[in-house]
Symmetry: C2
Subunit: 320 residues, 2 copies
Amino acid sequence: MRVALIGYGNVGRAFARLLEQKRAVFPFRIVGIHTARHGTAYDPKGLPVEPVFGAAAGSVEEFLDRAKSDVAIEITTLNPQTGEPALSHIRAAFARGCHVITANKGPIAHAFSALNEEARSAGVAFRFESTVMDGAPVFNMVRNSLPGVKILGFTGVLNSTTKIVLDAMRAGRSMAEGIEEAQRLGVAEADAGYDIDGWDAAAKTAVLANVLMEARVTPQDVDRHGIGSVTTEEVLALKREHKTLCLVSRGQATAEGLKMQVRPEILEDTDLLASLHGTSNLILLHTDLMGTVGTVALSPGVEQTAYGLFSDLVDIAKSV
Amino acid sequence: MRVALIGYGNVGRAFARLLEQKRAVFPFRIVGIHTARHGTAYDPKGLPVEPVFGAAAGSVEEFLDRAKSDVAIEITTLNPQTGEPALSHIRAAFARGCHVITANKGPIAHAFSALNEEARSAGVAFRFESTVMDGAPVFNMVRNSLPGVKILGFTGVLNSTTKIVLDAMRAGRSMAEGIEEAQRLGVAEADAGYDIDGWDAAAKTAVLANVLMEARVTPQDVDRHGIGSVTTEEVLALKREHKTLCLVSRGQATAEGLKMQVRPEILEDTDLLASLHGTSNLILLHTDLMGTVGTVALSPGVEQTAYGLFSDLVDIAKSV
């Protein structure tokens, strides 16, 4: 299969390395890479991990027209408020009969239901495993390995920055120091408010609700409380009582409809949810037939996000 | 698809109820049920959950010849030392061109590699999701949703009885009282030694090694230490230091070959592995591409084991 990449940052490079490593068994090749900053590269025979970029294509549409790929992978920088420009890129790919994979949670958090129908109309596949849990099997697991199951709700510990910040505060440091550490580790963006205020967790909550519970919600619909007002003193007082503060995402089908919330919860130190640190994360699915079952990933990084793209690509190759 | 059940205890009945509940979407029907105690029942149009049993078929071979099913589900009582009689039942089904599903870990722990080749020669599918983690996606997740991944090792908390017993001891009770509790909950067999001495965990360890790491081992090959000599005083002393004793299964590929062990490990109370109680369980897979990723199930019961059989059945229906 011929693959075109829209965006080429750390995840894109890790993905290109992975394809190169797996070429003997999985014959995928990257025929085009488009970036706003470095320009655009094409080669129908396959591009190397460090291609020579020419002038940037005038638009993503122009890029896709020339790249002529079977699959477009959207990995541009996120604008979390709207899902753009990723949303437009995805639609441009659908319009050209391309299957689409994205690691960008914005489009799924804002417009999954519409995009899914558009993909179906266009007769193409649409995959997004890496939007939550950095590539660990969540959506592909539910689709492929939990047949007949209804998801009644979910509980997740999904935001890395707040785990790192709260752990730093538990060690007596300030929130600002914790944020600096998360930035140094490459986990938090320059504007850490997106994580601290719970927007990242709310976006993932909306993604889970839209995909697994057929909701049509946006991050703005999530009852969202961040950790901005938490003090080191509070965290230390909880620690003395063997309790941990943790930003938890929850979704639940109720008689009044779907309830979604993101908030710092006080957990026993020995709670499963409190046992995740750093970039480690966990999602529990509450189901009708399989009880509560979930996926856990320990210390995933950019390679694992790239693996999620790869697993989506194999899933598409198998299903078409 | 037509299904024949060999064995019909709690799991079999839960499975029959599940099929009845899902009939509209998944058109599977049970055309034969064979038990040593209650006799045998046949109906090509489909049996109810509580069938009228006639005289027992003279043998499993005779049963399968008359039932004429597409799939045979082996759920007889385990003889953990040898894998028999389940092994012979599975081979009888292969010989008749039946796909096979089993919840019985004996055959997989003792002879997976041979059985897998026999299934391939016979042109039939062979599935066993419920042998570990009570039906939560482990083997189907790896097969369907972790493409291209090499499993380098695993860590599991897989035995329920020892969790219940050690939790009882942590509450100051004796091992005997803990065993009684596990038996009352229907988790431990009358002979709890199989759990306490680590044989159940060793069997699951062998299953994981055989299936996920292409080993050809038996439970006897696992470096196995049970909890039989642990005292309540030791457990309480660890508790005062905020530590938990936990029977952990590990497999690891090394330069000297595959190392497998089952032993009580001293964990921090806040460790992920220590956070599982009762029948809750966890398996972590250490992989080349996806780092450490795993499945967790909270408080699964007989319905979840039955769901594992169902998910295997759907997996077979999709793949043939």
